[in-house]
Amino acid sequence: MSILYDEGQEAIATESRRVLEARMDKDDLLPLLEATGEYHHGFWTTAKEQGWTALALPEAYGGLALGLVELGLIAHQAGRTLSGAPFLTSGFGAAKAIELYGTDAQRSRWLPGLASGETIGAVAFACGADALPQHPGVTLTGDRLDGRKIGVTGALAADVAVVLANGPGMPALAIVELDKVERVAVPSFDNSRCIADLHFDGTPAETLVVGSAAREAALHIIALQAVVTAHEQTGGAEALMEIARDYAVTRKAFGQPIGAFQSIKHRIAELYGLVELARANCTHAAAREGQSDFITAAAAARLSATDAYDTAARDCVQIHGGIGVTWEIGLHLHMRRARSLAIEQGSSLFWEDVLVDRLSGEAA
């Protein structure tokens, strides 16, 4: 069942929007594109101050015991204003993995820091187009990790990562402290994502879960993250739709606002449709956490949100004409973010397969 937001949830949406609109400015985000490994400290400080890092974690470890619905609302607002760092999602994924599959000792060790935001977490599962690879590129032998994980979002700043590895003959999830791990920065088209390749070389690691349960756990974790990201994508798409609308009612050509031309107004109306479908799927997926159809709902949210953000980025720039492709106007910040978010947590290609496997009964 889809949900209606209650008063507390509405307040979270309103307050996070107010704070982020006051503190985030695209002029501060533009320079970050040209500096690998830099993120927007104001954004991250705000996230910690406001308790967003603690939002969906258990009270016993300093969390606020709210859920995916509330975190989704924050992510939506973060998407509207272009969040300045990826750690809300990456840290949430690492924390949920430790909360759901770790021992009490592992939870006590990591969750309080992740909840306060003093510890930054990352999730390292993917290998190229495969979000959950059969051959994950790293091997867990006893309590040592060897091999390489490429393109890990947040890894340049993270303190801890949850890694998908080959255990002895079976998949495994492991917790790795990153302070002694060699990190090779990836200069990226969306640099504030703090992306790095991780090189493990006999690195000490702790096992979280092994065997077929590890793959199921990994899918569950990226589904949780994907729902958060889908909210962020929807927020970005919504902001672009509004930017396009505002431009179309003020910019004139041939003696009338360009928004009076159907080629423009229909394009923006189509964006409205994509945004609302994505929003509805996001809200539904967040409310299905813990239910048997959660993965299906997460996949639908992810697919429609990726479509909405990519299309909005494409069309918003197109509607602006020449000014849309300038560095200064910053629409490329959204173009870049639309693509980095489309890849993190598995691309549409991955989620299409996950979804169809379920619809056709192959994954039952």
Partner: protein
């Protein structure tokens, strides 16, 4: 169980009980006339069971319940393919407008009761050969004639006019003022002298729409349902009556499950089509789209339950669902290849891909074309400017033809 869930359960049980008499199997092979006769009996059964006029006032034969009960019942009803299509327009728009604007209350009560029991059918005479979307540009005229009026002109795309007893009609009573200010709203007796109905056969083979000709048709002034010159307002009220009806994210075509079954059954390059990436992508995309519409509709219901007004996103359903149904139907025919040539013009668009495909264009045009809906979203929801309208403010008889 909530009251509404209890209501749903009861409605579902009633619908199940009706299947042997009125379901798809019972309708198979019937001529249109026989099916209509069965439909009238079904409508009477609905009335007797308390499922007709669910949210209408009890003093005209309704049940006095809410909109939620109505769409809850309709959600159950639409699962079974009952012969209710003949009454959809009648009870959807003209009769509610009659209830709202009809002046002779005894007459209104009598008509509403007969319509609810399937004895009488009403049609809506709006569109004309010169324009459908541009409603205010209509040309059918009514001139004063003694104490009453005399109507001349032509309407078109009038659903079920051939079976209708009455109709509501918008006509031009003053061509010397701006186009939407010279219209007046009446009801007419479809059996009156001078009314000629001619069915139009559509691309898919059926003939539910008609041309309707008015040739010196005399109507008295008590048929008038708006002030003289105030017809446009009532016409808009007609179109706004039911913004949230029971919607269908399949666009009134086949459910996606049927496509998945088809893809599992047929082979493509020597393996089941369900393993082909092109097919998988379309299934996934269509599922995500339909799931979004379903969530929008569920949220709208919850809002109504909470006494709130649902958001404007409900207007997306027809636009998004029907055009994607059109494409998915094409792909389903591709999947069948030359095994899919067979065509049964009596098949239902809800479970037959060829029928869904050939009837899809009607869905994208009737009740507001895709383009009109996009304009409405752009203008009403997003505040974008109206299109350029050269006829704006000009007296109707001075608009260049």
């Amino acid at each position: 169980m909530s009251d509404l869930e209890a209501y749903r359960a009861k409605a579902a049980a009633w619908c199940e009980a009706m299947v042997p008499t009125f379901g798809k199997a019972a309708r198979k092979g019937l001529s249109v006339e026989e099916d209509l006769a069965l439909g009238r009996r079904y409508q009477k059964a609905k009335f007797d069971a308390g499922y007709a006029g669910i949210n209408w006032p009890t003093d005209v034969g309704g049940q006095g319940l809410g909109h939620l009960e109505k769409i809850t019942f309709e959600g159950e009803e639409m699962k079974h393919g009952f012969p209710n299509v003949y009454f959809g327009i009648s009870l959807g728009m003209p009769v509610p407008v009659l209830m709202q604007f009809g002046s002779d209350r005894e007459f209104v009560r009598e008509r509403v009761l007969k319509a609810l029991q399937g004895e009488e059918i009403w049609c809506q005479l709006f569109s004309e050969p010169s324009g459908g979307t541009d409603l205010a540009g209509l040309r059918t005229r009514a001139e004063t004639d003694g104490n009453g009026w005399k109507v001349n002109g032509q309407k078109v795309w009038t659903s079920w006019a051939q079976y209708s007893d009455y109709g509501v009609i918008v006509v031009r009573t003053d061509p010397t003022v701006a186009k939407h200010k010279g219209l007046t709203y009446f009801w007419v007796d479809m059996k009156a002298p001078g009314v000629t109905v001619r069915p139009i056969k559509l691309a898919g083979g059926d003939s539910h729409v008609n041309e309707v000709f008015f040739d010196d048709v005399k109507i008295s002034d008590d048929h008038r349902m708006s002030p003289v010159g105030g017809g446009f307002g009532v016409a808009i009220a007609t179109l706004m009556i039911e913004r949230y009806v029971a919607t269908d994210s399949a666009g009134f075509g086949p459910h996606l499950d049927l496509f998945v079954e088809l893809a599992k059954d047929v082979q493509l390059n020597g393996k089941p089509a369900i393993e082909d990436g092109r097919i998988r992508q379309q299934i996934a995309r269509n599922y995500a789209m339909r799931a979004g519409l379903d969530s929008i509709n569920r949220r709208a219901r919850l809002m109504m339950q909470a006494g709130m007004t649902p958001g404007p996103e409900g207007s997306l359903n027809k636009l998004v669902a029907v055009r994607s149904r059109q494409k998915l139907s094409e792909l389903a025919l591709d999947l069948q290849g030359n095994a899919g040539f067979a065509f049964d013009e009596h098949a239902s668009p809800k479970d037959d891909w060829a029928s869904s495909w050939i009837n899809a264009p009607t869905g994208r045009i009737a009740g507001g074309s895709d383009e009109t809906l996009l304009n409405t979203i752009a203008e009403r929801i997003l505040g974008l400017p109206q299109d350029h309208r050269p006829d704006k403010g000009i007296p109707f008889n001075q608009i260049p033809a």
